[in-house]
């Protein structure tokens, strides 16, 4: 499993962690059914993109500030940051291929 390659972001470490390179953040919560479906896909990508991009997740229940800052009103949402700047957004369930394409576009 690639779970150790998937970073866990919080309100406090968020800015530090997305500062450089390409970072994909999966905004999720326990009570969100579709989030459970996208979680294993994101985990696989963490393994496949190791060293090229940072793949991370952020629990919106425990960390309300970051979702507020990016006006997230629905999950699952994937945000892609390039050197600290928001570069792409994907709302809702998406197949692995679509997420990989979004990553490739910015690498």
């Amino acid at each position: 499993m690639a779970s150790d390659k998937l970073k866990t972001l919080t309100d406090s470490n968020f800015d530090q962690e997305i500062r450089s390179g390409v970072t994909l953040v999966d905004f999720w919560a326990e009570w969100c059914g579709p989030c459970r479906r996208i979680a294993p896909i994101v985990e696989q990508l963490a393994g496949e993109y190791e060293g090229r991009a940072t793949i991370a997740k952020l629990n919106v229940d425990e960390n309300p500030n970051v979702p507020g800052r990016f006006m997230i009103r629905g999950i699952p949402t994937l945000l892609l940051f390039k050197n600290g700047q928001l570069a792409d957004t994907l709302v809702g369930l998406a197949p692995k291929e679509t997420i990989a394409q979004m990553l490739e576009k910015h690498l």
Binding site: A29, W31, C32, G33, P34, C35, R37, P40, V60, D61, P67, M71, I72, R73, G74, I75, P76, T77, T89, V91, G92, L93, A94, P95, K96, E97
Partner: protein, 328 residues
Amino acid sequence: MTSDRRVVIIGSGPAGLTAALYAARANLKPLLIEGLEAGGQLMLTTMVENWPGYRDGIMGPDLMAEMRAQALRFGTEVIEGNVTAVDLGQRPLTIAIDAAGRITTDALIIATGASARWLEIGSDRKLSGHGVSTCATCDGYFFRGKPIAVIGGGDSAMEEAIYLTKFASKVTVVHRRDTLRASKIMQDKAIANPKIDFVWDSEVAEIKDVGRGEVTGIVVRNVKTGQLRELPLDGVFIAIGHTPNTALVKGQLELDGNGYIVTHHGTRTSVPGVFAAGDVQDHVYRQAVTAAGSGCMAAIDAERYLEGMPEHAETVGAPRSVEVRSPQ
């Protein structure tokens, strides 16, 4: 040419999982491909109060987890992947799966269900994830203490409206008629709820504000007078029904005018060996229990179809029929 599989099931809602359960118990070793919206529409619901056998109700996701476990228990193989294409024009039938490549099968059960319909007014899609949602259980949390609207007048709209009162300061139901389509019990619950009010005979003309990238209000048009009115609010939940997920089979199976798969003599489609179950072929009943029922029918229809195939004698042994009929 021998096929990889005797029966493949596409979809993992009540129809797909019940088809898998019956096919597995008939020793057909079914392969089920879950699809992106695994578990189907019940994964987006809360308490299901009309599933027989649970007198106090059961949570939608819990019910689906039970159904999945039951299908697995009898030998269903599940692929957590998506079907990207099917070829129903030749034998064996061919299915392309993103996570597993190409697979051939003698029989196919399509239980791909239906997905939430959007308003298709432009602004709804553009503000998806920024205040417009089709999933109250996913996104209600983001509207604590805020006024929101639910669009629609059916059971799902009432369920969403009632659920959302847990978070929202006020829920306005916008419906294009002057009466609700929802069942009496759901209507009564919604009308009695002090946080819910209704805007009748109205449709959504526009959701604001695409420029700001967030929802600030909706413009509703009275369908009788044509009058426009703006309602300031922070979120819009769309519950105006569903569209069948038939893009995969379009042009290969007979569909009706609304895109649903046409079935005859039970669950048979226009292609022999291909069966359809659940909401993908039903725009009338659309219940978990009817979907499950038609999933069972599809498995039995597929089994009978396979019995009539020439290679039946070599691939399926005699004990199968004994197992099917043994009472629990």
